[in-house]
Subunit: 219 residues, 2 copies
Amino acid sequence: MEQNEHAARENRRRFDTHNIRCVNLLGGAGCGKTALLEGTLPLLKDSCRAAVLEGDLATTRDAKRIDALGVPVVQLLTEGGCHLNATHVQQALEQVSLDELDLLIIENVGNPICPANFDLGEHLRVAVLSVAEGHDKPSKYPLLFKDAQLVVITKCDLLPHVDFDLDIVQTDVRRVNRSVELIRTDIKTGQGFDRVAEWIRGSAARPATENSAAEASGG
Amino acid sequence: MEQNEHAARENRRRFDTHNIRCVNLLGGAGCGKTALLEGTLPLLKDSCRAAVLEGDLATTRDAKRIDALGVPVVQLLTEGGCHLNATHVQQALEQVSLDELDLLIIENVGNPICPANFDLGEHLRVAVLSVAEGHDKPSKYPLLFKDAQLVVITKCDLLPHVDFDLDIVQTDVRRVNRSVELIRTDIKTGQGFDRVAEWIRGSAARPATENSAAEASGG
């Protein structure tokens, strides 16, 4: 853990030196993290130069989906590991032209638990929850939401078909993270992606000290 | 890991002494493991005496749902831990009347990665995947499916609304686990729960050596 903290600080220092904002995208397997990037990155294209690090246990499927958008991407394979650590990111940065970037998004391994324990050097954390996972998840997996600056509720097109109460989610998320913002998205209609893109643009413009995930969590 | 193997062997020895079959239920957060138990346990009531160990990070919500069925249940809280280990189970067994049981189902923490690495002393592993998680999951999370004797595909009522190809799932699951059985379930119509109950009854009746998860995985 100490080694991770050290590497995370190094990563953040490099991001700050290059004036890059780094976002750590967290959520369970199949909650729609890659689809969220597919919906949001095209809306950011004109205002910032973005790249993505894709964390997975196996396959390069997700990196291919990002590559298809014309966005630079590095696939990180954990070989069975349940989370990314700051050293994974440090190594991947060797393959990224930091001078040509404004925004780096790290899509973490699909797992609502372990990734939340590891600071990667990010400035912002975005937690993702799909309506198909159920509204009990913020109370059952509080760590995922505790240090996030934004919670994105995905797959809202499924709301008529699942038992999911947004009010319960909002109450339970705010119980562990009072000021966090929530945005609903829907891949079918594209609802909400503009708000996520706007949030990222706005957060990226603020000084690092105002919204650093590490400082918010005391790490 | 060595300590876990030792405790797992001890657990399995106790189950065998009491003629109890033990099932380890694995899958991501919100994939429908508790709902699967709610659908299946009532169908097993007349043919076997079952109890459940509920693994969670926080809250006793799932244990309450099992208790409402009139099935004995022990809640195991990992306090942020991402998986159950064999010692968790060993401790929980102190609260279970083993002489009055035929079947013990352990619902693991919702996480498609870490729990698969820990033998709990079970005889059988059941992996759960919801159609809302996407058909790419068996190729991205092969460990979840590799040592399972049964894969249950849940939330099939959502099939008309999501992009999920059962043939791809079947092919990718069989790539890492040739002989595993797949059963589809649907909480809305109740489809498939009778097949799962029948599978558990049938597997529980077979001698332990024929379908021990530990032996299948070489553990």
